[in-house]
Amino acid sequence: MEIDKSYSYSDTELDRYEGGVIEALKATSGEAIPDPDEWLDEELSQNILLTTVDAVLNWARRSALWPVVCFPACCAFEFIAIAASRWDFSRFGMEVVRASPRQADLMITAGTLTWKMAPQVKRIYDQMAEPKWVIAMGACGISGGLFKGSYSVVPGYNRIVPVDVYIPGCPPRPETLLHGIMTLHKKIAKRSSMQEGK
């Protein structure tokens, strides 16, 4: 079986375009994006009245958090570990890992983000339907971690997408990840649907 050994595919046009997108994104993401929710302070939240509708909706939303596929690196395998039998996040209704961002609610950023990857992550975030949440998993997700000083690494996902919960670790143990998810549950529980317009 003879295979054509010439490289006919090399699409330099596309490469150049993608390089431009990366450079543009890099130029505009100098600062960390603040929390999208304008997060309620602990003491404030106790005074906010949530309607019954809010309560029911928030219950539904946190009980059916479908994560999107976004597993660039090491942390992915701790994510798979909580999907696997021993920690089993399906107990919280999360095993429906959607590969299509349209149908997902939660982005768990399991791994180092590089500038080459950043436009894709941003795009996936943009494609997700509201309401949506992001968990920055691991040291790389929070701050770039071990690779913070590198020329190609984004120092934290919050340069690209707004992050709701930060989970430290390299990688975080599955229990810590589950705890982070439950922290997100608490955050969702305090949210009012009035805020969604923003």
């Binding site: 596309l14 976004c70 597993f71 690196a73 992915a76 590089t114 894709q120 992550v121 996936i124």
Partner: protein, 367 residues
């Protein structure tokens, strides 16, 4: 009459469920048949080689953990071997045995993930992967006993390993070694004769022997192509010359052969583990070296048979406490070279499983 068809370009990845990380295939399709394919990598390029030039030798061990994050122990080993060669550090015998035990356990973990995700890509809804993860968790427990971490172990040191094993380790390992063959039989029962798996993988993604060698493939990919080349036998390092084990090879060089080779290697790992446990000597596990090691100027290349293939570290020292050049010969990257040759003419669905059968780890491909 010939049907006139139009090619179109399909972009798989970089965040695609079956790309094992951030890998992208620009595929030109004719219907569902792949006409041309261009792997695009670099989405996880963290610049480890550059960062390592700015860190001391010891500080670089955590970086090696994160190369092939599915086999961190196997990545620690060639790096410390290279530095030991460079600085002429002796390793106590017990430490050598502990290294072999850890690396072989790690090989089982890596192959478990390779086979599990490979079958997952075939479309089995998680079950084989989750059964295999059950055993993986047991090995991770063993690793955690030894060094306190589940994934990034940072266990090997120049001149040995960081800690001796705790008392509860050997009984737990013995228990695991006793049970593991039974688990491998379970995988076989679930997968080995499954008609759909056979239909999907037999004869798919053939990598002929000559091409495999020419393309510098290594590890199970090379062996599945019928080349009996295993660095543990060909260039024995550590104490591998004291163990008896076989090198499984394939005959048809297809995806199924690669799957079989991995399953068989897991059995061989168990064999090596048994012997290593029997022979494990007593004594110290670490030769003391200063924190900021300053090896004499020179260069060194040390390689081992990592689960994914020949993993080598090429170090250049200028007699300072930081490496002048730190290069990783990453098996995943080089095995990936074969992908294009193996894919053209196959269906889109085959692209996924052939890719899965190579078993790459993007952390190592991109570095």
């Amino acid at each position: 009459m010939t049907l006139k068809t139009e090619h179109f370009v399909l972009n798989l990845g970089p965040l695609h469920p079956s790309t094992h990380g951030v890998f992208r295939l620009r595929a030109t399709l004719d219907g569902e048949v792949i006409v041309d394919i261009e792997p695009v990598i670099g989405y996880l390029h963290r610049g480890i080689e550059k960062l390592a030039e700015g860190c001391t030798y010891k500080q670089n061990i955590p970086f090696t953990d994160r190369l092939d994050y599915l086999a961190s122990m196997s990545n620690n080993l060639p790096y410390v071997m290279a530095v030991e060669k460079l600085a002429e550090i002796n390793v106590p015998e017990r430490a050598e045995y502990l290294r072999v035990i850890m690396v072989e356990l790690q090989r089982i973990v890596s192959h478990i993930i390779a086979v599990g995700t490979f079958v997952q890509d075939l479309g089995a809804f998680g079950t084989p992967l989750l059964y295999m993860f059950r055993e993986r968790e047991k090995i991770l427990d063993l690793f955690e006993m030894v060094c306190g971490q589940r994934l990034t172990y940072n266990y090997m040191r120049f001149g040995g390993v960081s800690h001796d094993i705790p008392d509860e380790f050997l009984p737990a390992l013995a228990k695991f070694v006793d049970r593991m063959p039974g688990f491998i039989d379970e995988y076989d029962q679930l997968l080995a004769e499954n008609e759909i798996l056979l239909a999907r993988t037999k004869g798919v993604g053939i990598l002929p022997k000559d091409l495999a060698i020419n393309i510098s493939a290594s590890g199970p990919v090379l062996r599945a192509s019928g080349v009996k080349w295993d660095i543990r036998k060909a260039d024995p390092y550590s104490v591998y010359d004291r163990f008896e084990f076989d090198i499984p090879t394939g005959s048809i060089s297809d995806a199924y052969d690669r799957y079989r080779v991995r399953i068989e290697e897991m059995r061989q790992c168990v064999r090596i583990l048994r012997q290593a446990m029997e022979q494990l000597p007593k004594g110290k596990v670490l030769t003391e070296v200063p924190l900021k090691l300053r090896p004499p100027a020179g260069e060194v290349y040390a390689h081992i048979e990592a689960p994914k293939g020949e993993l080598g570290f090429y170090l250049v020292s200028d007699n300072s406490d930081k490496p002048y050049r730190f290069h990783v010969r990453a098996p995943s990257l080089i095995n990936l070279t074969a992908l294009r040759q193996m894919l053209i003419g196959w269906k889109l669905a085959d692209a996924i499983i052939v890719f899965g059968s190579i078993d790459i780890c993007l952390g190592e491909v991109d570095r």
